[in-house]
């Protein structure tokens, strides 16, 4: 949370509102109360995997290298005057207007020339490197899988459980993600459609009336019943919202990001979402030879830019902007020189994009240097090791301690400041922890109320939107110190409510939502 917003919300949340039994509407402030973000535990990372090898030079243009780019890729290079300028020497593809706006609003950053030493130009091997976060061929776990393993050591045996009812990661589609492969299990749960969380990885199962059909139907039903995460996911999706009208229903990435917004806003505690978008293997017809700003690659970039912009807009409207950050990646960039088929072949490094309200805005790393004479098959050389980006995200976003981050990677980590835009100081964090808090929130059943008590007699009421007390939830003496009281909210109809905490010295409202 940015300091300005933190202070704004803190002052609102600590307002000691008079309790009025009728007519006093608290609706106006409820959104603000909801907005106050907690800590790293609530943060969400969205990874967008651009499958096939993204041509970074046709996405982020080093304007100061334009002349030599023209030498190397004359048949595909988009005219300079069509590019979208971000800075004086960096520009975006003309179709990425949504992301240009995000950049200008401080919600997008670009890390240039990300890769790893001695690039491997096999799609499969290189994607394994990116997903495992390791160059070691024997590494089979994913970088986030190792992070989760270090945090939740008995996975999958002890999960899900009461404290962790939701999947740690969701991989949109039919395949769990190697990124989340742990030592004993994969932390990601494959989800095609969060509103229909059948655990059936593929869907076309019908009872054709034969014995076989009846078995398949029976087993499918059982699989769904035993899908431990299915209910948590679908109830969150159903409880959640999507408020942006910018999503294009024909844009498959937008559809998936909208699902993600719905799951997050519905209270799902999943920390990582992974979406895949294919088609970046643009050996030919990368551009339309009659209009270089069009063609296959431009369609993909437009899809990503539009979808991410819609998602960011949605997060803003939902008040979730400071809980969600995202990153794009691809297995490699493409060669500097274009080929004769208006395409490009497998290369090395490429830029990655980070998005969200908390990114450190701007462009990290210098433009690549394009010589007018290059070796055959030259790619863009690496300047920033992808593992340093991963490590920095873990540090900045999940607030993992540096020694435990280092243990996940094979080389010495050099950190970049990537996502510290919302970090709050320790004192502020501590102050925030003192605030009364209801969790889970929104809740589908009961909830826990956490606050600092002062050794007094307390009465806690459940108050509805009209400010009317509808139930007394607690009446008793509480010792000084942090209290965590189980609140019976399971029988409340869905809607927005408050806990009103009262004592001699305290009068606090804590908003919560029953879903």
């Amino acid at each position: 949370m940015k300091r300005r917003d933190f202070l704004k919300n803190a002052s609102l949340a600590s307002l000691s509102l008079p309790f009025v039994s009728n007519g006093f509407s608290m609706q106006a402030i409820s959104k603000e109360l909801f907005e106050y973000s907690k800590n790293a535990e609530d943060r969400v990372l969205v990874l967008i995997r651009m499958n096939g090898g993204n041509d970074g030079l046709n996405m982020v243009f080093p304007i100061d290298q334009y002349a030599n780019l023209m030498v190397q890729r004359p048949n595909i290079l988009i005219p300079q005057n069509q590019l979208l300028n971000l800075t004086s020497d960096v520009a975006l593809h003309p179709k990425m207007t949504g992301m240009q706006d995000m950049f200008n609003n401080g919600k997008l950053s670009i890390i240039q020339n990300v890769g790893y030493p001695e690039a491997n130009r096999s799609h499969f091997r290189s994607m394994d490197i990116w997903t495992t976060g390791a160059l070691d061929i024997n590494q089979t776990s994913g970088w986030l899988g190792r992070y989760f393993d270090s945090t939740y050591p008995n996975f999958p045996a002890d999960y899900p459980n009461v404290n962790f009812p939701d999947p740690f990661a969701i991989s949109m589609g039919s395949e769990v993600s190697t990124t989340c492969q742990g030592l004993m299990g994969n932390f990601s749960h494959a989800v095609n459609d969060p509103f229909n969380t059948s655990n059936l990885l593929l869907t076309n199962v019908t009872n054709d009336g034969t014995y076989y059909g009846s078995h398949i139907e029976y087993i499918s039903t059982l699989i769904n019943q035993t899908n431990e995460y299915g209910t948590a996911i679908s109830s969150s999706a159903n409880a959640g919202n999507s408020l942006s009208n910018l999503y294009d229903p024909l844009n498959p990435l937008a559809v998936q990001l909208k699902y993600i917004a719905q799951m997050i806003s519905g209270g799902l505690k999943t920390k990582v979402y992974i979406v895949n978008i294919g088609g970046f293997d643009t050996h030919d017809s990368q551009v339309d030879q009659n209009s270089l700003a069009d063609g296959n690659h431009s369609l993909l970039l437009e899809m990503i830019s539009d979808a991410v912009a819609a998602f960011q807009n949605d997060l803003h409207l939902l008040g979730l902007e400071e809980r969600v950050a995202g990153m794009t990646f691809s297995e490699f960039g493409r060669q500097i020189a274009s080929n004769g088929s208006y395409g490009t072949d497998h290369g090395d490094s490429a830029p990655i994009m980070l998005f969200g309200n908390c990114v450190n805005t701007g462009i990290i790393g210098p433009n690549p240097t394009i010589d007018n004479q290059i070796n055959e098959q030259a790619g863009v050389p690496m300047q920033i090791d992808f593992r340093n980006v991963y490590a920095s995200i873990l540090r900045d976003w999940f607030e993992a301690p540096e020694p435990s981050i280092q243990a996940l990677f094979e080389q010495n980590i050099t950190y970049l400041d990537v996502l510290s835009g919302c970090s709050v100081g320790l004192a502020e964090q501590e102050a925030q922890k003192q605030k009364p808090l209801a969790y889970p929130n929104p809740t589908p059943s009961n909830t826990t109320l956490r606050f600092q008590a002062k050794g007094e007699q307390y009465q806690i009421y459940i108050v509805d939107q009209q400010g009317k007390a509808i139930a007394q939830a607690f009446d008793g003496q509480l010792a000084t110190g942090k209290q965590e009281l189980a609140m019976e909210t399971s029988k409340l109809p869905a809607g927005h409510y408050y806990f009103l905490i009262t004592s001699t010295s305290m009068r606090e409202l804590v908003a919560f939502q029953k879903v």
């Binding site: 061929i137 039919s174 199962v205 076989y212 398949i216 087993i219 293997d281």
Partner: protein
């Protein structure tokens, strides 16, 4: 029921092999296609000699590691005696799993389990006796059933299991006598009068008990005898004549001492119901649970007549069944839900995932696999009851009983383990042989062909085209097909280089993890 004359493609060949083995490779299916139905059926209807189980566990104190214990004494010391029995029990369980995992492409293992289910014998703490019983079933799995019935009747394991060993003239025990009629030979029909079960009466149960008196078992867990042996003791035998019920034409069996039981079995087998009963069990096990009136008259009665005509030889019945048009009918494809061993071995065998960890490592692996099936409801040498597993007789669910919410999760967990991390067993890890499996497919460099072949191996019927497309996209990681071809070719040209083989393996892991969790895989 006619001989099947329809198309003989991978679908039919794979159907035959799924029902008669624990899982064929793609090459074996293709060979079956080119050999044709008749030759394939003839070649799978054989029972190869199997080696004996070997000592591997430190609890075995009599024979050295790597030696057979099936004809070895037990230690005299009681503690060691029990330790040795525990070790032999594990060796026996491992041996069963090993036989199935390393089966030749023939019906032996499926047939052996058919009989184990039929007789429902639980190992009664005498692993030598249990071994010899299982060996008897296996050896005669396609042999003469009437003779097998006689042999089983005085087998030490059976005598111990159903109290035959304590059934004597002074206190007849009806346990075996009842099951002989109710479960093993003629089968129990509807009760039509007090004590009358359509096919036999309580009179026959009582008479049978007396007929069977006189056998005891010696040498159980003996430190001096190398076998548990059935002994006939004439003093314990009721040698009076016995009169059977009207179901057996009120026949009188004269006292005949040690061979009286065989005369009795001959009398039982004179009833046509015996053949019908056994053929209905074969049908449920090999074809489908649902015996409609048409199936009864057109299939089971026909098979039963073949059984009788061939004096209860099993092989001609199986030959007729497996070459029949009914067996290949689309309506019965995929009509059986895999039992746990069929599920686990159905993953390991087609991929030729076979432990190679030396004697001890292999046996440890196999006993672990045995227990995996056990935790999913199928402990081969400890059936739930003498009636066998409910999935083969309990209407209306039948094979659906193999899967419930607990078991399906276990099935998925074992798939995840085998496909990705491997099953850790001691210092060894049993991992799926992804690359060997892939290399054995018809055209591994073609992504669509890989998926077609995998589906042929694991699914009883064609799956939806969009599902196939999804599977292919998982294999290719969403890339164009040619990228898979390039990657596979790189690997094929440099197969020992893990930098090119691991990416191929990882794609196979992703695909297999999905395929083996599809509901279609759970059926055969």
């Amino acid at each position: 029921m006619q001989v099947y004359t329809g198309p003989w493609t991978k679908a039919e060949a794979a159907h035959l092999l799924r029902r008669t083995t624990f899982g064929a490779t793609n090459q074996q299916i293709l060979a079956a296609v080119s050999n044709g139905m008749t030759a394939t059926v003839n070649s799978i209807l054989q029972i190869p000699i199997s080696s004996e189980p070997l000592a591997y566990d430190a609890g075995e104190t009599i024979v050295p590691q790597g030696s057979s214990w099936v004809n070895a004494v037990y230690p005299a010391n009681q503690t060691q005696n029990q330790q040795t029995e525990n070790a032999r029990f594990k060796s026996l369980g491992a041996w069963i799993a090993k036989n199935i995992n390393q089966e030749q492409l023939c019906i032996a293992e499926k047939m052996a389990f058919f009989w184990q289910n039929h007789f429902g014998v639980t190992a009664t703490a005498e692993s030598r006796a249990m071994y010899h019983f299982l060996a008897l079933l296996r050896q005669n799995a396609l042999g003469n059933f009437k003779q097998l019935m006689k042999d089983v009747t005085i087998d030490p394991a059976m005598l111990l299991f159903l109290n035959g060993a304590t059934n004597n003239v002074f206190s007849p025990n009806e346990n075996y006598s009842r099951e002989l009629l109710e479960l093993f030979s003629i089968g129990k029909g509807n009760q039509i009068a007090t004590g009358d079960y359509s096919t036999y009466t309580e009179t026959d149960v009582a008479a049978g008990a007396k007929i069977l008196t006189g056998y005891t078992v010696t040498g159980v867990r003996s430190s001096t005898e190398t076998q548990a042996l059935a002994i006939f003791n004439p003093i314990l035998h009721d040698n009076a004549s016995k009169t059977l019920s009207y179901h057996f034409n009120n026949q009188v069996l004269a006292g005949a001492g040690a061979t009286e039981y065989a005369n009795y079995i001959d009398v039982i087998f004179a009833q046509p119901q015996v053949a019908k009963y056994i053929c209905s069990k074969l049908y449920r096990y090999f074809v489908n649970y649902d015996i409609t009136p048409t199936v009864q008259t057109d299939v089971i009665d026909v098979l039963a007549q073949t059984f009788i005509n061939n004096n209860f030889e099993i092989l001609p019945v199986m030959q007729q069944l497996l070459t029949s048009d009914h067996f290949y009918d689309m309506s019965v494809r995929g009509a059986i839900i895999r039992n746990p061993l069929d599920m686990v071995m159905g993953v390991l065998n087609p991929t030729q995932t076979i432990p190679n960890f030396g004697l001890v490592g292999d046996y440890q692996t196999y006993i672990s696999i045995y227990y995996v099936a056990d935790t999913m409801g199928q402990s081969y040498i400890i059936p739930p009851s003498v009636a066998g597993w409910t999935a083969y007789y309990q209407a209306p669910a039948f094979s659906k009983l193999w899967i419930n919410s607990t078991y399906i999760k276990k099935r998925f967990d074992i798939v995840s383990a085998i496909v990705y991390t491997g099953i850790p067993i001691g210092t060894n890890t049993l991992k799926m042989n992804h690359l060997g499996f892939l290399n054995g497919l018809s055209n591994p460099s073609s992504a669509p062909q890989v998926i077609d072949d995998i589906c042929d191996v694991f699914f009883p019927k064609a799956i939806d085209a969009t599902d196939k497309l999804m599977l292919k996209l998982i294999l290719t990681g969403g890339l164009p097909d040619f990228e898979w071809t390039i990657q596979y070719t790189d690997y094929a040209n440099d197969p020992t280089n893990i930098a090119v083989s691991n990416p191929v393996m990882q794609r196979m892991q992703a695909v297999m993890n999905v395929i083996l969790k599809m509901p279609q895989f759970q059926t055969i």
